[in-house]
């Protein structure tokens, strides 16, 4: 889902960058309003966690590789806008240091990963949580899974409207590889939340920004 530079056309790059930069500015404003010295190290540690797990890819069938995202997990712990900001920052560093994704395509990549995983999935989870309170872990698993699969659908969509691939041809291999990634992501998110509930439950009670 890290689209490299040169893979998207001008209209897609400008549209996604505009959307992502406006969301970034709003996120920074929201974070700065309530930023305390105690919250800063947490932001740093979770930013490092996203960077680390996104840097390590694992092979899946169809001859490709996927990686975990961890963005929905961070939004559950720190909140949707903190998650968006950290993910955007991580994408920038990944593009410069690791060569994962591009600089100009950061808008599209942050839409696929940060907006879908961090903001959309957080509010979707909050909505579903009100209706289905009894199956909390299944919901976390399902929304984590969805954050990866939806991101991959949008990634295919952006590439197809830029004329790089045919949506109808590319969507199946893309979905197949990311369904595997989504299942692993779901298990990972549930495990970390369960771990924090047992070992350090107060971390889950931090104000969600």
């Amino acid at each position: 889902m890290h689209i490299p530079d040169g893979f998207l056309d001008f209209k897609t790059v400008s549209g996604t960058n505009l959307f992502s930069f406006l969301t970034l500015i709003y996120s920074i404003k929201r974070i700065l309003k309530k930023l305390t010295p105690e919250r800063v190290p947490l932001l740093g540690i979770f930013c490092a966690l996203i960077f680390l797990i996104q840097a390590i890819s694992f092979p899946v069938p169809y001859g490709t590789s996927v990686h975990l995202s961890g963005i929905f997990l961070i939004s559950l712990i720190l909140g949707p806008f903190s998650s968006f900001f950290l993910s955007f920052f991580t994408l920038l560093i990944s593009a410069i240091i690791l060569g994962h994704g591009g600089i100009l395509t950061i808008g599209a990549n942050s839409f696929n990963l940060s907006f879908i995983g961090g903001i959309f999935c957080f509010y979707l989870y909050k909505f579903l949580e009100k209706i289905l309170q009894k199956i909390k872990y299944f919901l976390i698993f399902f929304v984590s899974f969805l954050s990866i699969v939806l991101g991959s659908i949008f990634c295919t969509f952006f590439l197809s409207i830029s004329g790089k691939i045919l949506f109808s041809k590319a969507i199946l291999p893309m979905l197949f590889s990311h369904i595997v990634g989504g299942i692993v992501e779901g298990i990972f998110t549930c495990s970390i939340i369960k771990f924090f509930e047992k070992v350090k439950p107060e971390i889950l009670k931090i104000e969600k920004i």
């Binding site: 305390t36 740093g44 960077f51 840097a55 590789s65 991580t90 240091i97």
Partner: protein, 135 residues
């Protein structure tokens, strides 16, 4: 050249890396008058008779490939206009292949990224801490 390679790394997607190799086997195809078979289609078969490589020759009618086992290899070339050739050839030695790694190892890149993140966190922590100390 090293700077070019470093910059070109940035355009790649996740999990895609590369290394140059030397000692590849090269074959050039040309018509009897010396004109190269530019962009003609080719298929290379391994000694097990499986397709090992396929694609188009370059502008000068050449193809480079790196055999993975010794034995009798076969190449088919077809220019799409009724001209072509099927040629068998023997590969005896595949030992002297040199790979030239061009990028830093992943762990070094990850450490650099983590260093930047924690450094940036430290700066923000210092600024916010000072602001809170004054208020």
């Amino acid at each position: 050249m090293h700077i070019d390679l470093l910059l070109s790394l940035i355009i790649f997607s996740h999990g895609v890396d590369f290394e140059f190799f030397e000692n590849a086997k090269g074959i050039r195809f040309f018509y009897e008058d010396g004109t190269p078979l530019s962009f003609a289609e080719y298929k290379i078969y391994s000694p097990r008779n499986e397709i090992f490589s396929e694609g188009e020759l370059d502008k000068l009618g050449r193809v480079l490939f790196l055999p993975c086992e010794p034995g009798k290899w076969k190449i088919e070339v077809d220019d799409g206009m009724g001209h072509g050739i099927i040629k068998e050839f023997e590969i005896k030695d595949i030992q002297n292949i040199i790979f030239l790694k061009t990028s830093y190892p992943l762990y070094l890149k990850i450490l650099t990224g983590l260093g930047i993140i924690f450094g940036f966190t430290g700066i923000v922590f210092y600024i916010i801490g000072r602001k809170y100390a004054h208020t």
